[in-house]
């Protein structure tokens, strides 16, 4: 199957500053893809390149076989660019209907489509309000709504949940999860837990350099569990190490332990939970594999 997006030797520099350095990746149709990295890592630059807002300094980038920004991608690729705002002087339904018309819909259909996408983000009732009269969170949700007009194959959301309250952030996550059957989402966020829930492929950018991670599979010969405890207990590492099949234990964060094991016929997760119960340890979570946070950042706490 042909990849949706192919980047090869992609670089972008602003004057002397290299924002993206020789980046290669492929994104295939399927589960949402996460784009993570610290501030200034090059995430927004990569988004801008994918949307055709800026041109690469070097390398090539293709989306569905076309250059980003090409007319052939209209109606197929949509995006929520970071900090982009609708015109504050217009009713939001008018603006969304205008975008729908640009995507080829008729007058009546575009009105219906505007209300449909506003309904998806829970804002149908404020369709007649001007964008300038909305709160920050509402404006963000309206801009997410514009990315859902029509039936895009690729939806890119840059910091979609930043600035949203927890309830609406959760609604956006649920929306992405629901729609990910129909479109491939590319999400950037600083909330790794959020991305871990939604995404299977993770593109990690740091200082313009890209590395890839998988969230849902152990992609090496080694097998891990990550155990998060509710409280700090004494000698956890030593005690866990004594369980049959465990080859190594280390603390990855405060009250969080990574358990490396050799697969045997006896399931280790059951043994781990039984052990916690026997020791009267309260656990918060048992993750099969590494957490995304641990994959990306330094794992072992010395």
């Amino acid at each position: 199957m042909r990849p949706l997006i192919t980047a090869s030797g992609l670089s972008k520099s602003y004057g002397a500053k290299l924002a993206l350095n020789n980046v290669d990746f492929e994104i295939n149709k399927g589960a949402p893809v996460a784009l993570v990295g610290p501030n200034g890592a090059g995430k927004t630059t990569l988004f801008s390149l994918l949307c055709g807002y800026i041109a690469p300094s070097k390398g090539s980038l293709e989306i569905l076989g076309h250059k980003p920004g090409s007319a052939a991608l209209f109606n197929k690729v949509s995006a929520l660019p970071q900090d982009a705002q609708l015109d504050p002087r217009f009713n939001i339904d008018k603006q969304l209907a205008f975008y729908a018309k640009l995507q080829g819909m008729g007058a009546k259909q575009s009105q219906t489509e505007a209300l449909r996408v506003l309904d998806l983000v829970g804002l149908k009732e404020i369709a007649k309000q001007r964008a300038g009269d909305l709160s920050h969170g509402m404006r963000k949700r309206v801009t997410i709504a514009q990315a859902l007009i029509g039936a895009p194959q690729i939806v890119m959301l840059d910091e979609a949940t930043a600035g949203l309250d927890p309830i609406h952030a959760r609604e956006v996550r649920e929306l992405v999860s629901e729609l990910s059957e129909q479109a491939t989402f590319i999400l950037s966020s600083h909330d790794l837990t959020e991305l871990e829930r939604l995404c299977s492929q993770v593109l990690h950018l740091d200082k313009g350099v890209l590395s890839e991670h998988q969230t849902k599979t152990n992609n090496t010969d080694k097998h891990f569990y990550t155990l998060m405890l509710s409280e700090a207990y004494q000698n956890v590492e030593q005690q866990l190490q004594a369980i049959a099949g465990v080859s190594r234990v280390y603390m990855s964060q405060h009250k969080e332990y990574v358990v490396e094991y050799q697969p045997t016929s006896d399931p280790l997760d059951i043994a781990l939970l039984n052990f916690c119960h026997q020791q009267h340890w309260q656990y918060r979570q048992l993750v099969n594999g590494h957490t995304l946070e641990n994959q990306i950042f330094k794992q072992e706490k010395v």
């Binding site: 949307c51 807002y53 800026i54 090409s70 007319a71 660019p81 982009a84 705002q85 015109d87 640009l102």
Partner: protein, 275 residues
């Protein structure tokens, strides 16, 4: 980045049409429209409404002819529709200046706000740029048409028998005025591709005419052939056009060529700029 062509006429029409909505259905647009209507009410009531009385007064007629002749406007005195002669002079000089102000925010506001990013995922940069140009020109054309209809009403009120001739006169004035306005709108289209705000666009336009005029004047004084540089300025033909002393071909060709050049430069910059 995207290849600017081909043009989708449907999208182009949508973008141009949205400019009319922006002008006539937003608070800011309506305030500008109200100010415009007020100014033209005064113009219609006094200079235009009283034009006939002043020009045809027996004591004044010869003086008016002498003065008009010396400044190349004598042909206007032969128009039976004196209201349109006065309208022509006022509109020809005021609409370009008004146009610079009203067209000062074609793409710059949307670019600074990020709204262009939503648009550029749905239409090519050429469609956005040219659509906005056409939209702004349509807004000005509407305003010209409204003032012409009002002038026609003033004329009909004075002498209904002049209405038929007045209508034909209004139509020709409309076409020439809109064509004359094209390069002014295109200049603002160009300035919008690199300015950071609509206010700065206006300042840059004023500088272009003021400082540019001085520089070309000096160059022309040193090397007379550089007088051709006058054609860099929209409205270069207005002085001759005012007195109906310019061949129709020049009256049409000069602004249209200027518009084509300004728009193609604007497109080159816009296609390469970051959104």
């Amino acid at each position: 980045m995207a290849t600017p062509l081909p043009i989708n006429v449907g999208r182009l029409t949508q973008i141009a049409g949205f400019e009319l909505v922006r002008m006539f259905l937003t608070k800011r647009g309506l305030i500008a429209l109200a100010a415009f209507a007020l100014v033209w009410l005064i113009i219609l009531r006094y200079p235009i409404g009283q034009a006939v009385g002043i020009v045809s007064a027996p004591d004044f007629e010869q003086i008016a002819r002498d003065i008009s002749g010396s400044i190349g406007l004598s042909k206007l005195l032969d128009w039976p529709e004196a209201e349109f002669a006065m309208y022509w002079l006022i509109a020809l000089y005021s609409f370009p200046v008004f146009g610079l102000f009203i067209c000062s925010d074609q793409t710059v506001g949307d670019r600074e706000r990020g709204t262009l990013r939503f648009l550029s995922l749905r239409s090519t940069r050429f469609e956005i740029l040219f659509g906005r140009f056409l939209g702004q020109l349509a807004v000005l054309a509407c305003l010209v048409a409204i003032t012409l209809v009002a002038t026609l009403a003033v004329l009909g009120f004075r002498d209904p028998s002049l209405l038929a001739g007045g209508f034909a006169r209004a139509l020709s004035i409309f076409l020439i005025l809109v064509i004359t306005l094209c390069p002014f709108v295109a200049l603002m289209t160009l300035i919008n591709t690199f300015a950071r705000s609509s206010r700065l666009s206006i300042v840059l336009a004023i500088l272009y005419f003021a400082a540019g005029g001085i520089i070309v004047g000096i160059l022309q004084w040193q090397i007379p052939v550089l007088g051709l540089l006058d054609y860099l300025f929209p409205g270069v033909q207005i002085e001759l056009l005012a007195g109906q002393n310019l061949p129709l071909l020049s009256a049409v060709a000069i602004p249209l060529v200027q518009t084509a050049v300004l728009l193609s430069v604007a497109q080159r910059i816009f296609a390469r700029s970051s959104l």
